[in-house]
Symmetry: C2
Subunit: 386 residues, 2 copies
């Protein structure tokens, strides 16, 4: 496999974007990434998107992406793995360039989620869970993660305040991110006292519904050296694993096996330990998710993710900054775009281009973890500045 | 890039399968392919599916595929490019193995289309067209292909009888295929006189709505030689291109540019001319589509696809057999499965394992062409027996 670098990144301002269709969102980030890379086309495009069919009645983004970005007839295909669609698209693009089939390939991600009737977004998102055994019986994602939170609190003594600290930290980081959807800072009391969604998860424990996109451009290392004067950011590890789609069929619902496996694969490929990594962007779709993810990655010991968060380990100036971008919590969570935006953030950080107040001090090696469903699929990538 | 072979294929009996959920369909073909290859797992899975969200309210097949096939926690991702989803999944799996990232990877495809209300399937399929400029104004796929047919008839003199001959040929072939959905033979008069759908296309000019799946297993050539005693079928060419999603934005709606480009790429990669290919499985979603595809591939000159069909060039015993399987017309068209089933058919033919009456005499090199929308994306693969 050839060495591959990321040479361009783009992300639009996320939020409730009523005036933009899904094709507009997608093209906006594609053009930003091309501009950042200083090139005018790519050889192929992978587009992460969870459910453009249910959200916007528009499938076939593999055609719309190139077409509305003005780079038709290059080939495009959509990649879906629920909320891990963006990470999966990045992995497919990475493998494409690494194979030698093409030198320059784009991974984009998009979701247009707010243009649906009341309840429509929750219905569409629930298609990432087991429709026949979970959703049919009335469970949606806040409920699934609430069960995981309750079990984690029961088993490890994780507290209500520790959950809140995830939201407090990520909103503080996101307040410095001009592209984030919700830039307000929040206090532990605000998180705890916001409206209950699924006990113990309140509204401020949950990531929002978002319209947004992101795009990154991958390039063979040899070609990248010719094309760019910016710091090259090399993909040194890639991992991907699945778990049972049903939460009820897992041995343990207070840990994330697929994330642990994907991380092991990526670290082994990179020849590194988790302690060699400087910072991470992880999938905090709910506050409990970030706690469980940092345990699965080995940033905190199993059962100690809440304490590590409360102790400031994962703060922007902590030992292992997590979600300097604001994470899904503050930045927003347009599901198909999330995994690609994580990569864009890591590249920005490694290049030292993050906005003031959220640039991680030592940012040479970053890790991105993107997750689908209640952990039924996970994708992990490790990137290093050259 | 490493040499890659197909070492196992599987396909279930297609039709209106009321007793099977989408997960059952998928697992059935996955297990058949594993059995055919004589192995019990793979390292990764790509799943072609156009719209499991709209058809079955179940996304995240990247988790369900491995889970319900009993090979969790291997990684899976769904690939979508409308009706070319299966071909795209095969291409992604091919690139994965060719890259060296894994030795054994599965490409599966599935669609469960009949379990919807009246009109629901046409609505879901229409999301492969331009929702804002085509579908919003009332056009669905029969209408789009009818426009292409009318233009082709006007420009080249293609006749009603030539359209019918595509259906007659493919149903004759499909009558020998025990896995096909509609095994009845049809006469030109029956095709012409069946109920009008969109002038000039009658019901028997259209491929049906189908539940079904298919799966194939790709393996690095070195490993394949160890694993199998069957004839090895090597992937010698792969091509993929896009076109504008809107029919109205094309220079010429009586030709298929994306198919022509994808075919050129695949032939160039294989170092062959179209005359070197023995037979093909192509995307006859409508009779006019097969006529236009054989022109785009160079099997017939531009404008002469209808005549070539009527002359028997593409018959099973003709100079260049096309759709020996029965094609989408007779075999059925579960959209995400179609492109994978084409590969399965080519492997069966190259191995000399096709059913009596539809085995192509000289079947050493076969071509598969899979198309999304009204030609907005096309995937072409060429496979050769070793």
């Amino acid at each position: 496999m050839r060495d591959v670098a990321v040479i361009g990144v783009g992300m639009n301002k996320w939020g409730e974007l009523w005036e933009a269709a899904i094709r507009d969102l997608l093209a906006e980030s594609v053009l930003l990434a091309l501009d950042d890379a200083g090139i005018d086309s790519v050889e192929a495009m992978y587009i992460g998107c969870m459910s453009s069919g249910l959200f916007t009645h528009q499938e076939h983004l593999g055609s719309i992406g190139p077409d509305y970005s003005g780079i038709c007839p290059i080939p495009g295909m959509r990649v879906e793995s629920a909320c891990a669609s963006g990470g999966a698209a990045f992995r497919a693009a990475y493998i494409h360039v690494a194979s030698g089939m093409a030198d320059i390939v784009m991974a984009a991600g998009v979701e247009k989620m707010t243009d649906v009737d009341g309840g429509g977004a929750t219905f569409a998102l629930a298609t990432a869970a087991d429709q026949e055994y979970e959703v049919y019986n009335g469970v949606t994602f806040p409920g699934l993660y609430a069960m995981m939170a309750n079990h984690h609190m029961h088993k490890y003594g994780t507290t209500r305040d520790q959950l809140s600290q995830v939201a407090v930290k990520n909103h503080l980081n996101g307040s410095k991110n001009p592209l984030a959807q919700f830039r307000m800072k929040v206090t532990p009391d605000q998180v705890k006292n916001s409206v209950m969604v699924a006990d113990p998860l309140t509204l401020l424990d949950c990531s929002p519904i978002t319209d947004g996109s992101a795009a990154v451009i991958l390039c063979s290392m040899d070609k990248a050296k010719e094309l760019t004067r910016k710091r090259l950011v090399k993909i040194i590890g890639s991992g991907h694993a699945s778990d049972t789609i049903q939460l009820a069929q897992r041995e343990d619902i207070s840990s994330l096996k697929s994330t642990n496996m994907a991380a092991k694969q990526a670290l082994e490929m990179a020849g590194r330990k988790i302690s060699d990594i400087n910072f991470a962007e992880v999938h905090d779709c709910f506050t409990i998710a970030e706690i469980m993810v940092i345990e699965a990655l080995g940033i905190a010991p199993q059962g100690k993710g809440g304490k590590a968060t409360a102790d400031g380990i994962t703060a922007i100036d902590g030992k292992f900054p997590v979600n300097a971008s604001g994470g899904l919590k503050s930045k927003g969570h347009p599901v198909g775009a999330t995994g690609v935006a994580q990569i864009a953030e890591i590249v920005k950080q490694v290049r030292g281009e993050a906005d003031e107040g959220r640039q991680v001090k030592k940012a040479d090696i970053g890790l991105a973890q993107n997750m689908g469903g209640s952990g039924a699929s996970s994708v992990v990538h490790i990137l290093e500045g050259m």
